[in-house]
């Protein structure tokens, strides 16, 4: 269930080079262990949001085990917030959990919270808790717009418009 799409991004996608080597932490991932195997193998064949039921119930506890049971991030992270690994100096990263190491590896370039969740196969809520923790510890930098008025301002919209027109 949490593993859908992996073969898609791995198929020579230039944005995620050598992704499998980087994130192939043994035993890593949140896929349910069961005889049923992966469900909804190809997300394009299914409409999102139609999954659910008893199968997920067994995995309810497990995703949040890596956050120490916390489901609320230490600060609010938008789904499109951009995350990049900090330029750390000779820091011993082996003390970090495999999940945090995977996030650091993946975020050598700027990636969104959504991408981290999807590519590293973490439920969104779990990714948010971990990333917020890592940001507080200075392991990653986070860029997100503080939408004072709730929406992107007119200058940003101009920029979006001009970018879209050039596509």
């Amino acid at each position: 269930m949490f593993g859908v799409g992996r073969d898609d991004w791995d198929a020579g996608d230039p944005l995620y080079p050598a992704a499998r080597d980087d994130f192939g932490v043994p035993g890593y991932g949140f896929a349910p262990q069961g005889p049923s195997g992966p469900v909804n193998g190809d997300p394009r064949l299914h409409d999102p949001g139609q999954r659910g039921g008893a199968e997920e119930a067994a995995t309810l506890v497990r995703p949040y085990a890596v956050t120490g049971g916390r489901t609320k991030p230490r600060y609010q992270l938008q789904i499109e917030a951009m995350v990049a690994a900090s330029h750390y100096e000779a820091r011993d990263l082996s003390v970090l959990s495999p999940e945090c190491q995977a996030i650091l590896n993946f975020c050598r370039d700027w990636r969104s919270v959504a991408e981290i969740s999807a590519v590293l196969r973490m439920p969104l809520g779990v990714a948010r808790v971990l990333i917020a923790d890592m940001a507080m510890e200075g392991l990653v930098r986070v860029h997100q717009i503080d939408h004072a008025e709730g929406r992107p301002d007119i200058n940003l919209l101009e920029r979006v418009l001009s970018g879209l027109r050039k596509l």
Binding site: L15, Q78, I79, E80, R151, E158, S162, L167
Partner: protein
């Protein structure tokens, strides 16, 4: 590095992921949220209601607009029961595209209602399957009972240029809305 997002909403099988994929520089990815709902039966007197979980998946794509600006497009299921995710999703969003299949118009009612009440700029894009648009846009507008100020257009979710044009319309509409409220 700045990122912005646009929400693509619509009913089952209306072509949200196709729409996102037609302009995305990556094959659409899927992120999942685990939702827990306490289901309490009418006669349930215990204090430990059964909890059921549903996994809600959102497909999304990514478009680099300039060296420091990335647009994310999130396709999201349109049913009421996913509104808990929308509150989160529309925060800071530029706006939304409601994809409509005229054969199943009612599927788009919840999204239209939601975005209207949330004050989120949105446009309606009628996805023509195989270039087939059996209904006039004005009829669709009336059937959805949306204000004439809400842009409504035809699109082909498979076509990059069509998707681009739809997104441009949305951003222009969002700008017009901001300017009109000043």
């Amino acid at each position: 590095m700045t990122s912005v997002k646009i929400v693509v909403a619509g009913g089952f099988g209306v072509g949200k992921t196709t729409f996102v994929g037609s302009v995305s520089e990556i094959t659409p990815l899927t992120t999942e949220a685990v939702m827990t709902t306490a289901s309490t039966g009418v006669d349930d007197l215990s204090h430990t209601p059964d909890k059921t979980t549903t996994t809600v998946a959102m497909d999304f794509g990514r478009v680099t607009l300039d060296a420091g600006l990335i647009l994310y497009l999130f396709g999201t299921p349109g049913q009421h029961r996913f509104w808990f995710m929308w509150d989160d999703l529309i925060q800071g969003a530029i706006g939304a595209v409601v994809l409509v299949d005229t054969r199943r118009l009612a599927d788009s009612f919840p999204a239209v209602d939601y975005f209207e009440s949330a004050g989120l700029p949105f446009i309606v894009a009628v996805n023509g399957f195989h270039g087939d648009f059996p209904h006039a846009l004005q009829d669709v507008q009336e059937a959805l009972s949306i204000s004439p100020r809400i842009p409504i257009m035809q699109c082909d979710a498979r076509g990059r240029n069509s998707t681009k044009a739809t997104l441009i319309s949305l951003v222009e509409h969002a700008m017009a809305m901001q300017l009109s409220t000043r």
